[in-house]
């Protein structure tokens, strides 16, 4: 591809490359590494589950997670996930 960088564009190109790199790093880290421990709805001895960020996005989109008094992320349901967001 014949990509020509003009002198007046150099700053814009550098900013663009930095932003794309930053965005891709955030996306990659979020998709493959970032996770959170999620407590079960009832403290009945169920195990704490580590959920990846994509899984948390899905949970948040149906109002399936909340933050409890202790600051931990907690499931709002047991069994089948809600079909829609509570708001």
């Amino acid at each position: 591809m014949d990509v020509v960088f003009m002198g007046t564009n150099n700053t814009k190109i550098i900013i663009f490359c930095v932003l794309i790199l930053l965005g891709m790093v955030l996306l990659g880290y979020g998709a493959f590494v970032h996770s959170a421990d999620v407590l079960p709805q009832q403290q009945d001895g169920s195990a704490i589950v580590a959920k990846s960020e994509p899984a948390l996005i899905k949970e948040a989109s149906v109002g399936g997670v909340t933050r409890d008094e202790s600051g931990k992320i907690k499931q709002t349901y047991t069994g089948a996930a809600p079909k829609e967001c509570a708001t």
Binding site: V4, A55, L56, C85, T87
Partner: protein, 281 residues
């Protein structure tokens, strides 16, 4: 004159077909294949509680994660990448909520322009209802963005109410604030162009911050401009494109590129072009 690039030419040809481009994108967001890919966000304003939504709403996810005190890296990363590439071109060409308002703008009613300063409300909305209120008060606060969002009311609450009524089950009504905002929005779209985008959209607020540095931008050639001010009339958002081609308020509908001297065109940072002024030097 600026040597019009392939990109500029393509954009000029597409401008009259913008509504159809928006409609084509609508097919992507409305989940025709029933994929329900809610593990990923889309870079547009479309409620994930809508029965027809392919992806999650990035604003809803940022707000929900703010309430959870958990960094929304995927949503932020996506908005940074898309913003760095296109800026608010997404608002003008891909957003389904923008399309709805553009369709309402085709109804011949008198239109009013909000004062310029009102556009800053978007940033108040972003910082207040998307970041601060969820972070400090949680998702139960009445001013949490999803609780007052007209897109949520129209795309999720209304279909759900209709569905409940048809099924004969108990109808769960949204709160009064949400219904009031929805009613005001539905009135406003007939008397103001894109009222949500111009006054309150937090996603538009984010994309607008990239307008001056995005890879695709509105190029203005001062040497070609005849000061005819036709672009002022072409711009429906009260912007003077020759003074501020990449204004924060611009949704990049590219209508201004239809000015006859072709002083305005869509450009990209990867193109080699020389303006009349530059060539004269």
């Amino acid at each position: 004159m600026v040597k019009k690039t392939k990109l500029g030419n393509l954009a000029s040809k597409l401008v009259p077909w913008r509504i159809w481009v928006q409609a084509s994108f609508l097919l992507v967001w409305l989940d025709p294949a029933g994929l329900r890919l809610h593990t990923m966000c889309a870079p547009v304003f479309h409620c994930y509680a809508c029965p027809l939504s392919t992806f999650a709403c990035p604003i809803g996810i940022i707000a929900q994660f703010s309430a959870l005190h958990f960094l929304p890296l995927i949503a932020v990363g996506l908005l940074v990448v898309v913003g760095a590439l296109f800026g608010s071109l997404v608002c003008g060409w891909a957003c389904p909520f923008g399309l709805l308002q553009d369709l309402a703008a085709k109804v011949p009613t008198p239109r009013f322009d909000p004062p310029k300063v009102a556009g800053h409300l978007r940033y108040v909305m972003l910082i207040g209802t998307v970041l601060a209120i969820p972070y400090f008060f949680g998702e139960g606060h009445p001013l949490f963005v999803c609780r007052i969002c007209p897109a949520g009311a129209l795309e999720a609450a209304v279909p759900n109410i209709v569905g409940q009524a048809i099924a004969g089950s108990e109808v769960v009504w949204p709160n009064a604030v949400k219904l009031t905002i929805l009613a005001l929005f539905l009135i406003a779209i007939f008397f103001m162009r894109r009222p949500w985008c111009r006054l309150l959209c937090p996603l538009g607020a984010i994309f607008s911050l990239f307008n001056r540095i995005s890879a695709f931008f509105l190029r203005f050639d001062a040497g070609e401009c005849t000061q005819c001010e036709r672009c002022h009339k072409l711009c429906k958002f009260g912007i003077e494109p020759e003074k501020s081609p990449n204004d924060l308020r611009c949704v990049r509908c590219l209508e201004c590129t239809r000015c006859s001297p072709e002083a305005l065109s869509l450009g990209s940072i990867f193109e080699r072009t020389q303006s009349k002024t530059e060539r004269a030097q």
